[in-house]
Symmetry: C2
Subunit: 502 residues, 2 copies
Amino acid sequence: MPDFQDLYAQLFEKLGEITDIRHALALLQWDQEVYMPPKGAYARGQQLATLAGLEHRFFTDTEMRLLIDALRDRTEDLSPEQAALVRETAHDLDRAVRIPESLVRLFAEAQSRAYEEWVEARRGSDFQRFQPHLKTMVDLSREKAEYLGYEESPYDALLDEYERGMTASQLRPIFDVLAARQSALVARIAESPHHPEVTWLDQDWNEAAQIRFCEEVLRDMGYDFSAGRQDKSVHPFTTTFDVQDVRITTRVNPRDFLSALSSSVHEGGHALYEQGLPVAFRRTPLADAPSLGIHESQSRLWENIIGRSHPFFRRYLPRLQQLFPRQLDQVTSADLYRAANRVAPSLIRVDADECTYNLHVILRFEIETALIEGSIRPEHVPELWNSKMRVYLGVDVPDDAHGCLQDIHWAHGSFGYFPTYALGNLYSAQLMEQAKKDIPDLMNNVDGNAFPELLAWLRDRIHCYGRMKNAGEIIEAATGSRPSPEPFLRYLEEKYAVLYPA
Amino acid sequence: MPDFQDLYAQLFEKLGEITDIRHALALLQWDQEVYMPPKGAYARGQQLATLAGLEHRFFTDTEMRLLIDALRDRTEDLSPEQAALVRETAHDLDRAVRIPESLVRLFAEAQSRAYEEWVEARRGSDFQRFQPHLKTMVDLSREKAEYLGYEESPYDALLDEYERGMTASQLRPIFDVLAARQSALVARIAESPHHPEVTWLDQDWNEAAQIRFCEEVLRDMGYDFSAGRQDKSVHPFTTTFDVQDVRITTRVNPRDFLSALSSSVHEGGHALYEQGLPVAFRRTPLADAPSLGIHESQSRLWENIIGRSHPFFRRYLPRLQQLFPRQLDQVTSADLYRAANRVAPSLIRVDADECTYNLHVILRFEIETALIEGSIRPEHVPELWNSKMRVYLGVDVPDDAHGCLQDIHWAHGSFGYFPTYALGNLYSAQLMEQAKKDIPDLMNNVDGNAFPELLAWLRDRIHCYGRMKNAGEIIEAATGSRPSPEPFLRYLEEKYAVLYPA
């Protein structure tokens, strides 16, 4: 009879090595975005391909399959953490082995070409150029979905990679409610006579002072700079090389200091999650979020619900006035609060405000489900995009660069990724509603102990589990309710009724 | 009959993947020295160990052995570059497979412990603490030498890793000449009445201005910043992720701007070599120097023969006076030249001047050969060190932190590394003597075209070969003479006779 603890030790050791390779890959990518000189790109592509290939080979090799086959049905001999590690690894492995090596390679090659063409197509606002590559990515994704298997829609097989257990048919009614109520809210705001005056924002904001301020806020939030760092990149992101090496990047707009602030606080929210994962889960797949939606809930909670609150700007106005005395001489915390929450339907998702953001997501969800389910073809995308932009946001799309070519996701073949942004918004409001109940006077106390108390609450309810619980279990255990869009809509409608009175 | 071009293509592909892993390892190390937050150290150690293990496993696996066995005796079917790649890979593989996996692992573990203990021992100047670890590293290195094989001395087997084909018995007569003539030179200098006045150097030198100046000099030298970058680290180094991604680091002393300058120019010399390797050798072991001595010749040539010349300071004085107007108001190029070349026997190798540097190396060579050959034991090292410091440099060692504990090399088990520093000095002078003949008026033209012309000469004579030629062949082809200490001694004696007249 095999010794299960011995087999488990082998699995643990092997997963440690695989995790090391994944973290080396993450470092290669971080450096590419942050410090790599331009001519380093060619070799970096090769290094990434080699390590990604190695990672896949090791993760799906015979040894791994035998270990998981021996352990998966004997989890009663293991501790709860050990059982969770076996369960999660088995899940990942089942997905990985279903897709043939040949498709993995085809997908990676097509992805690389589609990305190159997308960059050029976006530059020239030339959808025709991207269209055949979009078709390839859709076709390969549909093929992938067939290998992965699904019950209702092939889209579900893809969505499952980012938000386990979620399906298109679960999302549709949620998104219908969001679309209706957020569109109505945006229409009410458009008619409000109380739009903020923000010309004062368009001044010179010293870059070093912006960075210093962001670092101070991150420290206040509880981000541990001895286990991380902040650098600059074109597209802000968070990356993890270990629970004690979690790095973020930000961008700096010299004419709008709110840009770096919101991106630092957003990435800081992701990073607090990663730094809060148990050290005992280090070098295993358990040291991760159970879904992208849950991860995004942490960034959105800090970025929007905390970082765009009036108490937040009351707390930081004095410090901001020290750093920018001339620019903020006549500016009040209410001015900052209103500027950070100005609502204006716009073309670009990543610049969208809280009221319109989900509408951008829903439009993409509707188009990508139709593509994957085969009810539309790639050539229909621009027209569909533009008409949905008029319906949901009331804006006219001037060209595809500001329309259906703006996001990288489809060029990467990441169908099913977009919904997790909206789910993150919903989870963030539901969690925060509960946190406000559990921590008395939380929002009135932002000056004082609110950040440490909130972080402790998040650590206790979310971060400490890693992948031990799934997304639904985490939300339900933390809030006493199943995931629901109502807390988010309540939050939004109350906040903006005050900001934009009729 | 096998198709040799097909086998060669397999070898080339496999070496590409192995090189990718090596470059990922280099990035993990670079980041560790330059940007990693302190708490990242634990996981980084694991990542380095995993990737190093993978690299060794792939490089010595059955597939590699079969490919090399099939190709090594059929190089007449291959092009000269292909034949060189097979020859060099066979050489590396022969060394790698001779050492059993178990010794590789033992060595890595002992190295890691010895390094930790060395750090503490040096901090507390406590040789006793380091002694058992030094003994382990010596014992394991002697065992390694037995596996590798040698004719005269076990030391030769270790030295061969850094300077192929070199032996202790070849080095001894060279080092005897250097020791005698350099000691005599140092003694003459000590008696000279013309020691420079350098109190002006001890001022505040703005760090950003120092870095900017170093970058300008590097650009003038021909370092391509679109294929590299400069960052700060405690110990300056050069690292390569590709021929088009070659990075250097420097250190900044706020009270001595010559420190950053010499370290940037030194590392710049290494980096010009790496950036000058043929793009066609990318992702193969040919994209490397044939020996550390040859590599060091490039850094020493730029650092000392160019970067510590009077024409160099004549060229840069106006720019330095722009950057540091107050500090350099009364300073002449001759003052800079004399300050950069002041000679003073001192305790620390890395701070040593041109006249004493080799003496530090020779002392270490004598001690480490004796350790490896078994004629002394680790407990004898401090006494031997201190007495040799008195003989060669006339200085008294106050404690082991400033004596035999100062260098990391023995803690790393890198016996045989030190001589390559001295060989680099010799090669640099021999090459420069020839370059001055080939490029008319080179040193009088430092203001104008000298750097590009010198770089073109080095590219043509050295950089373009990678490992196609060995160290001796390169020196002989470039200079028409076999490697010799005479050009270096001529350079030194002439330069310092003028700087320190009797």
